[in-house]
């Protein structure tokens, strides 16, 4: 029964992805100023949403771990930081590829791009920290603290990113594009699709990591018995 439910969700996700691709490339009109490159915006923004959802989940599960001391929350935290990092990387790369033809430069110190870059650094350091602690519960506490402090840092990062370069090219901001109703629909479809994908990935990764954790503990126990 459970497997069937899983498969159902997977099929729905695949179908939604088809719909999302169709709406982006066929249904949505081509933007007049920027041309076809603007179509990258839908999945760029959706990836950013997924990354933000992930970091928020990591923040909440960090707090819950420190209160409950249940390793379940640690596993959810790692899974979400991992997903968040993957999608932040996608946001950065698509941002660069979008900026090149439109602004004629690979990188601008636009507040949003800068924020994404700094977030990428913060959460990449999460994995460096993780790899340098052996004990499971110590590691969980340290990582929870980093996830909490990192997320609290986000608004300040965004605020300060506006200062980054005072003289930067006049950029065409996503918010200032007059979006046709078809574009709004397209955006909503791809946001929905990515959110579903996020939920699926988080569920799947959490399950795998929980199992990995149990197997590791069991193997250790077994080693003890054999010795």
């Amino acid at each position: 029964m459970l497997i069937k439910k899983d498969q159902m969700v997977l099929i729905v996700a695949a179908l939604l992805f088809g719909v999302a691709i169709y709406t982006v490339f066929v249904y949505a009109p081509t933007e007049l100023v920027m041309g076809p490159i603007q179509k990258i915006f839908y999945f760029h923004l959706s990836s950013a949403l997924v990354a933000f959802l992930s970091f928020f989940t990591a923040f909440v599960s960090g707090i819950l771990y420190l209160i409950r001391k249940d390793l379940k929350w640690d596993v959810i935290g790692v899974a979400s930081v991992e997903i968040g990092l993957v999608f932040t990387t996608l946001v950065l790369i698509t941002g660069v590829l979008w900026g090149r033809p439109v602004w004629n430069t690979w990188w601008t110190w636009d507040p949003r791009l800068t924020t994404s870059l700094i977030l990428w650094f913060i959460y990449a350091s999460y994995f460096i920290l993780r790899s340098s602690v052996e004990r499971q519960d110590t590691r969980a506490v340290f990582c929870a603290v980093l996830a909490i402090v990192g997320f609290v840092d986000v608004p300040i990062v965004f605020l300060s990113a506006r200062l980054w370069r005072t003289i930067h090219p006049v950029v065409i901001r996503a918010g200032s594009i007059d979006m046709a109703p078809e574009m709004v629909t397209t955006l909503l479809v791809s946001l929905g699709t990515f959110t579903l994908l996020w939920a699926l990935l988080l569920y799947q990764r959490t399950r795998t990591l929980t199992l990995a954790c149990r197997v590791q503990n069991f193997e250790r126990q077994l080693d003890g018995e054999v010795l």
Binding site: I37, H44, L90, I93, T94, L97, T208, E219
Partner: protein
């Protein structure tokens, strides 16, 4: 013209990234399943030996 090229590159990155990640997750799960199987066999063997 080059604008389309960048669009294609962008989508390749997104799809490549997502599929790469899903592939990585699936592979980890497979490896784990193999480990669980080894453990199960080990336990069976031990039970067999103990009685």
């Amino acid at each position: 013209m080059s604008s389309e090229l960048f669009l294609i590159a962008g989508y390749m990155v997104i799809w490549g990234g997502i599929f790469g990640y899903v592939f990585y997750a699936a592979r980890q799960q497979h490896l784990l399943a193999a480990r669980v199987q080894v453990l199960e066999e080990l336990i069976k063997e031990m039970e067999h030996r103990n009685g």
